[in-house]
């Protein structure tokens, strides 16, 4: 994780701070509070039978809440960031905390940290157009057709962001891009297969 702050990272951080304030408000009785907000977007082009069958974009966020008191801890998650749902998730964690068994190996939450900057975000991965990506897939399919094979696979890119805050003073964020390409070439209706990724 890095604590670097670009404009876009600030957006998730701002959301994270807003959410953390709500979590603190509802987490009555908890000695330690932690909120982790994750955001994932991905674009996936799946192909099979020498055709591009699925082109999908997906976007979701998840809030994970961890509460601790003494050596007990509880965690709840929610995909809804409305105040009422955050309240519900926190109250659930508070209930769990009351009944949770003590963990003899429990370590207190981390305080303020200084992490080295890690730059794993590449704008080009995000900005590559769907047409360009489809062109890459088309190239693989053309190769398969020329060789009388059937191509199937996936071309995927993703952006993952994480923002974490706790009452011990930790504030950290990470943003990175990812990409992968997986290809299977079939001959004889799948009885002869070669794959790579």
């Amino acid at each position: 994780m890095s604590q670097s702050s670009t404009q876009k990272q600030t957006s998730l951080a701002q959301q994270g701070h807003r959410v953390f304030d709500m979590v603190r408000k509802f987490a009555k009785g908890a000695q330690e509070i932690e909120a982790t907000l994750t955001s994932t977007t991905g674009e996936f082009l799946r192909f099979g039978n020498n055709e591009l069958g699925q082109s999908q974009f997906t976007k979701s966020r998840t809030l994970s809440i961890r509460l601790a008191s003494g050596k007990k801890q509880a965690r709840t998650t929610t995909g809804r960031l409305d105040e009422s749902f955050i309240q519900k998730a926190v109250e659930k964690a508070v209930d769990q905390l009351k009944t949770a068994p003590e963990d003899p190996d429990y370590l207190p939450m981390l305080g303020r940290q200084k992490y080295p900057t890690v730059n794993r975000y590449h704008e080009r991965t995000v900005e590559e157009s769907a047409e360009t990506k489809a062109g890459h897939v088309g190239h693989a399919i053309d190769l398969a057709r020329k060789n009388k094979l059937l191509a199937s696979g996936i071309l995927g890119t993703s952006v993952d962001e994480v923002f974490m805050l706790n009452t011990a003073g930790l504030e950290a964020d990470y943003k990175g891009t990812g990409g992968y390409f997986s290809l299977t070439m079939d001959a004889d209706n799948g009885n002869q297969t070669g794959a790579g990724s």
């Binding site: 082009l45 799946r46 099979g48 999908q56 974009f57 997906t58 979701s60 769907a130 062109g135 799948g190």
Partner: protein, 731 residues
């Protein structure tokens, strides 16, 4: 045409009826006003010369008949094309009607403020329409069309702008927008109608130009049903602090879905999508567990929208989002369109079989809402059950209760609008014992489309002692022999056997190679459809999502592309006869309708999934089946399995077994396993128990797709016997 809903048809036809009635009611308005009409004089402009030249150059009785026919098409064309659009694309239909209405009323302003006479009115040109009416009286079609044409022109002072021109241009524009090949018909008709107005002396060139320009400039439909900017982000499903009463939630999800789908479908239509569908899915689920003495619970709240579009009939795009506000839905729609355009660049023509339009609400049956039962009550039940399993030799105990509610609103560009509210409940109990043969396990689990009443039926505390006793006994039991034997499988094991060796290989996307890079292919290739003897005559396997089949995890009213739940055979008396399909794949095996198997994990991309894939019950009473078996092994409750990517070679092992000797159950055996080749195995089935021991089992965690999705499926099954099967003892 009325397959969808008669009421819906009438409702959506209303703007058109209003238009026709208004048109009729306004007959003669222009002539009754005191404003002086604009009456052009013969020879006073070049356009008049054009009309005269056209009439003198082309005048012939036959052409007059043909032109009268074109001229009379004015209203029939609009009616016919409106019905075509209503049936094919409701968004285009609404835009068409709004455009027609807007054009008519803008024209009315001109007619009342500046009434204008047609060319024939003062002798600029001959009124060939009137001439024709007299000449072709013997032809019923021509006569009728001429009569309609005459009615239209009964108001003499409504020449500028020409509604003939406006209507026929709108007709061409929308029919071509619906399908480009329609241009082969609609453009000649448009040219014919425009020419007829000149040839018959009904309009000046300027009237036509005004009509055409008016249509293109007005773009009435864009304003009439444009994005509803007033929509604000709706806060949904505010949960009660005191309880989980969610009666209001149903309406909220549906109403938000209705509002957002309009924006989505309108955006898709504006961007020339051939087809679009929208789903808003609200999922609330809770898992309550007690592991040994420790309670744990997890609740998931998930609201999001998935948008799927087809562009130029050759590129699919899908985008989802968990930010369900107006602006983001519009943006997500555009994202799906961008992906679809990219796909279209290398895509081939997409087939998409027809499905009737459905407008419906459906709530799955339940007696007791599982999410209304407190977490504390669930903890108490699980503590009671796991507490009864606490004995010497027992090393692990776990009880779980699963509660899920899925509300989903679906709308597509064809006019379907479907709201479904599904409640699912599940439970499991598992105990592990350690003894001389190592660790042995016993478990029960069941998942249904239904409510908390499942927990009453399962009676987890009542079953706990038996499971515990069996787990302890298994640690002392002999292992399963290796060799060949007749085997009777318990109903739940048969259910899993159906899932793995029939359910997956009949997924048509898998068959066609779309999953080859991840999940694999299938041995059930299309050339075997209707030919392969998949099993014995005792084996009939249905794909049945209807409620009549039972309360399964594969039960619904409509799948996630709006196809109604159906019951079809995959295997009929042993013969392989059907696949699990989608609208996009059905035609590839010669089907004209999908059997409704597109399902999505929450609001993600729908993919072909099992519904309830069930072995139909046979004739045997279970006790008689045991009595009829002189030597064999009974295997009960799955422990693990493996199967190849084509679903051809497999092995399964079970938690417990019993020897069967001379028609009676003998000693218990641990870790019984069997292996086989799918068609050989099912052809070795010589007996299936009857309805009394048939159960619709739930499989809650079937994984498929990239990114991976998890789906619940149903499998009805009864204990069945298989002859001469390879068996082995699992370690």
């Amino acid at each position: 045409l009325l397959l969808g809903s008669s009421a819906q048809f009438v409702k959506e036809l209303t703007p058109f009826i209003v238009l026709l009635m208004s048109y009729e009611a306004l007959q003669g308005v222009a002539g009754s006003l005191t404003l002086a009409p604009v009456i052009h004089q013969a020879g006073s402009g070049t356009s008049y010369g054009i009309i005269e030249a056209v009439q003198s150059a082309f005048l012939s009785p036959d052409l007059t008949d043909v032109m009268s026919l074109f001229y009379g098409l004015h209203f029939p064309l609009v009616i016919g094309s409106a019905i075509l659009l209503w049936y094919s694309n409701r968004v285009l239909y609404q835009r068409y009607l709004y455009s027609l209405v807007a054009c008519s009323y803008v024209s009315l302003v001109f007619y009342t403020l500046a009434p204008s006479a047609p060319p024939w009115y003062n002798g600029v040109a001959s009124n060939l329409l009137a001439t024709t009416s007299g000449k072709i009286g013997s032809s019923s079609l021509f006569s009728e069309l001429a009569r309609i044409g005459s009615l239209i022109e009964s108001d003499k002072l409504v020449a500028f702008p020409s509604l003939h021109a406006a209507y026929v241009v709108l007709f061409s524009y929308f029919t071509i927008k619906l399908k480009r090949t329609y241009a082969l018909v609609s453009i000649p008709i448009m040219v014919g109608v425009l020419f007829s107005t000149i040839y018959l002396g009904q309009h000046y060139i300027t009237d036509l130009v005004a009509g055409v320009v008016g249509v293109s400039d007005l773009r009435a439909h864009r304003y009439a049903v444009g994005p509803r900017e007033r929509l604000r982000q709706v806060k949904l499903l505010e949960s009660s602090k005191t309880n989980r009463a969610r009666i209001g939630a149903v309406n909220s999800t549906k109403s938000l879905g209705e509002e957002l789908s309009r924006v989505c479908l309108e955006t898709a239509a504006q961007e020339n999508a051939t087809y679009a569908d929208f789903r808003l899915v609200n999922t609330v689920s809770e898992v309550v567990s007690v592991i040994n003495e420790n309670p744990a619970s997890e609740e998931l709240n998930d609201l999001g929208a998935g948008i799927r579009v087809l562009y130029k009939e050759s590129g699919w795009g899908f985008a989802d989002t968990d930010e369900v506000n107006l602006e983001n839905i519009r943006e997500t729609t555009r994202k799906a369109l961008a992906l679809a355009r990219g796909s279209a660049k290398i895509g081939s023509k997409a087939s998409f079989v027809k499905e009737p339009v459905h407008v419906d609400d459906w709530v799955s049956p339940k007696k007791k809402d599982p999410l209304a039962v407190s977490t504390g009550t669930k903890y108490s039940l699980l503590h009671d059950a796991t507490g009864r399993m606490k004995e010497e030799g027992i090393v692990a105990r776990r009880g779980q209760i699963f509660s899920t509610r899925i509300e989903k609103y679906f709308a597509n560009s064809e006019g379907s609008k479907i709201f479904q509210d599904l409640t699912q409940t599940g439970a499991s109990l598992i105990v592990a014992a350690k003894g001389p043969s190592g660790i042995q396990r016993r478990s029960i689990q069941q998942y249904v489309l239904g409510g908390y009443e499942l927990l009453d039926e399962l009676d987890l505390p009542g079953q706990a002692p038996t499971l515990t006793k069996e787990a302890l006994a298994l640690t002392q039991a002999e292992g399963c022999p290796t060799g060949k034997s007749d085997v009777i499988l318990s109903a739940d094991q048969v259910g899993l056997q159906v899932h793995e060796s029939c359910g997956h290989p009949i997924e048509l996307d898998r068959v066609l190679g779309y999953e080859a890079n991840f999940a694999g292919r299938s041995f059930l290739t299309p050339d075997q459809l209707g030919k392969l003897q998949y099993g014995s005559e005792h084996v009939s396997i249905v794909m049945d999502a209807t409620l009549a089949h039972g309360h399964g995890l594969g039960t619904f009213a409509y799948d996630d592309e709006g196809v109604q739940a159906q019951r079809k055979y995959a295997v009929k008396n042993g013969k392989f006869v059907g696949y699990l399909m989608s609208r996009g794949t059905a035609s590839q095996v010669g089907e004209t309708r999908s059997n409704g198997c597109m399902r999505a994990d929450t609001y993600k991309l729908p993919i072909i999934r099992m519904t309830n894939v069930s072995l139909e019950p046979g004739d045997w009473d279970y006790d008689e089946l045991i009595e009829d078996t002189p030597d064999g092994i009974l295997m009960d409750t799955n422990y693990g399995w493996s199967i190849d990517q084509k679903r051809y070679n497999f092995q399964f092992n079970c938690e417990k077994g019993y020897r069967i000797k001379n028609g009676s159950l003998g000693e218990m055996i641990r870790g019984p396993g069997y292996s086989g080749i799918t068609p050989e195995f099912w052809n070795a089935c010589d007996a299936v128990s009857n309805q009394k021991s048939w159960v619709l089992w739930g499989t809650p965690n079937c994984g498929k797709g990239q990114p991976q999705q998890v789906m619940g499926t149903g499998h009805g099954a009864a204990p069945s016997r298989f002859r001469n099967i390879r068996i082995f003892g699992a370690s």
